[in-house]
């Protein structure tokens, strides 16, 4: 057994990968289940590609859960996959019962993954397995080679505005070096249409080619330019198309989109974005150098020519800022992604509680930083669950109050300046102020004579010691309470407000910054280490010739703007390896007489960093305010510039 345990332990180092990948698949599962539900409600045939994607998600979840030793998830995913295989291969009809089983099981899968993550008890899966088993009466279905999904894609009647093309991509090392490879070519093709079939082939000289049959409405001029990237095309004329299609496909019902879904979304690795940001940073530094050069030649050029040069310089500066904002925007994702999950939770809970609820979603296209979205997910879920289980009354109670029997929950998001506002509103009974006050008094959270206004009410609701019915109520979620909601909003630099009125409903308004604790930073090298310096601290970057340094009362100074600027060598402050060098960089911090130059070996560039705290005493040290990461998983320390300059002053 020790070996097994050790292996389990070995793969534990990948748990974070496991959680991230599971979450990604579970999100896609939820999206696809909603699509299935819509089809069922509208009495439409279910879409093959939706089922195909679900199948693959459960298949992958099964595999990674097996590896991560989360056997409950593996088993459950296995049963779900078996059922989906039947659906995919058309061996069983899709029913309400099937949908419910999938929804229940997905929820259970989420709970299992969450329990694994939080160290909680893994919930039992017997009920879900029984449900799924009853759907796959013949038990295990034998896996044969799946009808290669492309083949099962319908050759729908080609719409008048679309044509079929055969694209051939001849892969080569030179192209791959330029980032042109089968994956990027596939992405391009998906952007212009639907890939119907892809096949590899060997061409003369042993070169590999990939052939894609693509249905597209785009004009040939769009992809004619791709020939220099090794992508050739020919139109498949209708007649030829029919034979090609007849050869390929068991023709089935109409399909809206192809194998990969008709998506114009390209996934980007955050690390690659960071790389882009670094490049932008380099450009910014080069531009600063250019500006300095232009300043120096002011007297050498005729003033008209010098001015146009200067204008060009300003234009580049503006364009660079736009470029930077553009790259930042790529980090943003529509909040709709989490609203979708809310939809799922509301529906589940409505089912469980027997309440009738209509969910209204507006502003789902509002964009917000991806990291913020991830952090806010559980708190928002909690608020929505609260709205369903404590806010909305049951139909009879509503009618007695003269309200519509159907309760309403509204989720809304919008961008206001540099913030995003998220609203969670219900038209339920409202929060019972007296009841809350009474409980707060018995818990010593409120003085006997104190009254509660809305902000006071929120204060009480969010205090860790307070809880109304939530504790005993499983619907309020796993481990997240109002205190966590508030703490998360605080940590993210946001604000939460409450409005509530008896029998009219409750509204939570959450304001968040558009982006996380992200700062622009200068990345510098000293000794063997890299450090980040918040850009807001840096006034200027200068290059210093070692020969220009003067010794002044135990301090090094240089002449800078007509005054003596003290220079602190970071390597000496931090006892880092120091090499003798002819010149080095320094960044100037502080104004006027407070100005100090902090010398480093060199400036590597600029980067947008996410600031993380260093909480453990063992790792805290004067001169370091936090840590960040530049995309390679290594910790990069953030300089606390004021602590370093304070140190210098004490020395003086």
């Amino acid at each position: 057994m020790p070996e097994n345990e050790f292996n389990a332990q070995f793969f534990e180092q990948f748990l974070d990968d496991y959680f991230a990948e599971s979450d990604e698949h579970l999100r896609s599962v939820r999206r696809n289940l909603l699509a299935l539900e819509d089809s069922l409600a509208a009495n439409r045939a279910i879409e093959k590609n939706v089922v195909g994607e679900l199948f693959r998600s459960f298949h992958t979840l099964k595999g990674i859960s097996a590896m991560a030793n989360v056997s409950a998830a593996e088993t459950l995913a296995h049963y779900m996959e078996s059922y989906l295989r039947l659906l995919r291969d058309g061996q069983t009809a899709f029913t309400e019962k099937g949908l419910n089983a999938l929804i229940k099981s997905t929820k259970k899968l989420e709970e299992i993954v969450a329990a694994r993550r939080d160290g909680g008890e893994i919930p039992p899966i017997e009920i879900e397995i029984k449900l799924l088993e009853s759907l796959t009466i013949d038990g295990e279905i034998v896996e044969s080679r799946p009808p290669s999904e492309i083949e099962s894609i319908a050759s729908q009647n080609l719409r008048a505005d679309k044509s079929l093309y055969l694209f051939t991509f001849l892969s080569s090392a030179e192209l791959a070096e330029r980032g042109v490879n089968v994956n990027s070519v596939r992405e391009r093709l998906q952007a212009i249409g639907t890939i119907q079939k892809s096949t590899p082939a060997v061409k003369e000289g042993g070169k590999i080619a990939f052939e894609f049959v693509v249905e597209t409405g785009s004009d040939e001029s769009v992809f004619a330019a791709w020939q220099s990237d090794g992508i050739n095309f020919e139109k498949i004329e209708t007649e030829a198309r029919e034979t090609a299609v007849a050869r390929e496909s068991k023709i089935s019902e109409s399909q809206k989109s192809g194998l990969f879904g008709q998506s114009n979304v390209v996934r980007v690795d955050l690390a690659r974005l960071d790389e882009l940001m670094l490049m932008v940073g380099e450009l910014v530094i080069s531009r600063a150098k250019l500006a300095e050069q232009i300043r120096q030649i002011e007297n050498l050029l005729p003033s008209g020519e010098w001015r146009s040069l200067q204008e060009l310089n300003h234009a580049i500066e503006r364009q660079l800022r736009n470029l930077r904002d553009g790259v930042m925007r790529v980090r943003m994702i529509p909040i709709g992604e989490i609203f979708e999950r809310m939809q799922f939770a509301v529906r589940d809970l409505a089912r469980e509680t027997g309440k009738r609820i209509r969910l209204e979603i507006t502003g789902e296209n509002t964009e917000i930083d991806k990291l913020l979205v991830e952090r806010m997910l559980d708190p928002l879920l909690h608020l929505v669950r609260n709205a369903v289980s404590h806010g909305i009354e049951d139909a009879a109670a509503r009618e007695a109050k003269g309200k519509s029997p159907e309760g309403k929950i509204r989720l809304h998001a919008e961008t206001i300046g540099e913030t995003v506002e998220i609203e969670i509103m219900d038209d339920g009974r409202g929060i019972d102020r007296k009841e809350v006050a009474k409980r707060a008094r018995t818990r010593g959270l409120l003085n006997a004579d104190e009254n509660l206004d809305e902000s006071g009410l929120l204060e009480i609701l969010c205090s860790p010691g307070f809880s109304t019915r939530e504790e005993a109520d499983k619907t309020s979620g796993r481990g997240v309470g109002m205190d966590v909601v508030r703490r998360t909003v605080d940590e993210l630099g946001g604000e939460i407000k409450l409005e509530t009125e008896t029998d009219r409903g409750t509204k939570f308004r959450i304001q968040l910054p558009l982006t996380l604790a992200i700062a622009d930073a200068l990345i510098v090298a000293a000794g063997r280490e890299r450090f980040a310096v918040p850009q807001s601290n840096v006034r200027e970057v200068i290059e210093i010739e070692t020969g220009a340094l003067r010794q002044f009362e135990n301090n090094e100074v240089i002449e800078y703007r007509g005054a003596a600027l003290p220079i602190v060598r970071l390597a000496r402050v931090f006892a880092l390896e120091e090499k003798a060098r002819g010149a080095f960089h320094a960044f100037v911090v502080g104004e006027g007489k407070q100005a100090v130059g902090i010398a480093v070996d060199r400036i590597i560039g600029q980067s947008e960093i996410v600031i993380r705290a260093i909480n453990d005493r063992l790792a805290q040290t004067p001169g370091i305010s936090g840590a960040t990461e530049l995309g390679d998983g290594r910790v990069v320390l953030i300089l606390d510039v004021s602590a370093i300059t304070r140190r210098l002053k004490q020395k003086i």
Partner: protein, 123 residues
């Protein structure tokens, strides 16, 4: 230096595989997350051994094996299929298509290392 190509549509699994094999001497790794990419990678740089998943988007692992075995330039590359439980029924088909070894997830690091040593030595 021998080059091992790891093909799986799950990045987590690819990482686990590479970590398991990292102790081998004189090997380097390449990875692909789908069948077409796998074929491209092996055309771009010679590969000494391939670990291959079956159920992937675009083309199925069996099609990758058939392609590799069908072309002289690649037909000698040893292939170890690593697939998920429940696909076992495809075992005969996979071996018939020309895979050398068939493993099922969960694998252990020792499984992978043993197969890699064996297949690299045979090759």
């Amino acid at each position: 230096m021998k080059r091992i190509l790891v093909v799986d549509d799950s990045p987590t699994i690819r990482r686990m595989m590479i970590a398991s094999l990292r102790g081998l001497r004189d090997v380097e790794f390449d990875e692909a997350n789908n069948g077409l990419e796998a074929i491209e990678r092996l055309a771009l740089a010679p590969v000494s051994l391939m670990f291959l998943d079956l159920n992937m988007p675009d083309i199925h692992g069996v099609e990758v094996i058939e392609f590799v075995r069908g072309h002289k330039a690649y037909s000698d590359i040893p292939i170890c299929v690593v697939t998920t439980r429940g696909d076992e029924e495809s075992r005969a088909q996979v071996l018939e298509a020309g895979a050398n070894v068939y493993l099922t997830k969960p694998f252990t690091p020792q499984d992978l290392v043993a197969q890699a040593n064996k297949l690299l030595a045979d090759g």
